[in-house]
Amino acid sequence: MSLLRVVEWLGNTSWSIELHESRYVFLLVLMIHVLTISVFVGTAAMIDLRLLGKTMTRVPVSQVVARLLPWSELGFAVMIVTGTLLFYAAPLNRYENIFFRVKMGALALAVLNVWWFRRTAYRRVHEWDLDPVPPRRVRMVGALSLILLALIITAGRMMAYQDYWFG
């Protein structure tokens, strides 16, 4: 039961075909997915910029996180749901798409980066909460997050060109 077989099977389900050939649903899901970048990446980027000491430096880091993170998480949930649907519309195509694989890799690393940060450096946020520019370790987390988010956006956009460049 290889992954390829599962993906092929998914693509042959009636809902997958209907979604792929849909008149409005696919485009609507795609629109929501792309526009939610503004919420998910937008608020995450503002948090990362605070970690880098580049914005809202008079606001404690914990407050920026408390204010914006819930929205980033909401945006993330929307991206996951819409992203899953977009994958399901043409599973084999996505599976074989090199840009999709890069995107998923970058996404996994981005999640890992946040998780690891919360478990380590952020546990001691009270030590640097009021610093306009947080310590170097914290800035590295913010920088890595921004780079990975940029990579996710890029890989996602380039998925459309797989057929042209690697087909």
């Binding site: 792929h20 050939e21 849909s22 008149r23 485009l27 795609l30 580049k54 459309a160 460049w165 087909g167």
Partner: protein, 142 residues
């Protein structure tokens, strides 16, 4: 102001970096169609994929020397084709059609379609990225 300039600089550098990616890809890239290579095809339909985000029409075209090439022509999303009158059943396999479009830059038998023309003269625009695919006049430079 300085930060904005720095930001634009970083983005420009990123753009240049991204530009290097296809250069290391080992296949030809035909990301865009070539506006200087219009194609007039006539052949029989082998497959119609009315899928998002781009529909594809495949047809067997017989060349001057008798060889048959299977061409893949990209159109807009199903909603555009449906609006213009192309449904899953309006182009059955084996239908003889004419197709006007622009060839892929790579030179492969692929391209973007402007319109499908039935043998009785009816034209249906394919609504995609090709100039004129939306049915509007396309003033060209030359």
């Amino acid at each position: 102001m300085r930060m904005t300039v720095k930001l634009l600089g970083v983005i420009a550098a990123l753009g240049l970096l991204l530009a290097a990616v296809p250069a290391v890809a080992h296949h030809s890239f035909a990301a865009a169609f070539d506006e200087n290579h219009p194609i007039n095809l006539q052949g029989t339909v082998t497959k119609v994929e009315l899928v998002n985000p781009h529909a594809w029409i495949w047809l067997d075209v017989k060349g001057q020397d008798g060889t048959v090439t299977n061409w893949g022509i990209e159109g807009g999303p199903p909603t555009n084709l449906l609006r213009n009158g192309i449904t899953k059943t309006s182009l059955p396999i084996g239908t003889e059609i004419k197709l006007f479009g622009y060839q892929a830059k790579s030179g492969e038998p692929k391209g973007v379609g402007v319109f499908v023309e039935y043998l009785d003269g009816r034209k249906v625009f394919m609504g995609g990225s090709a100039p004129g695919a939306d049915g509007n006049p396309t003033p060209k430079s030359n």
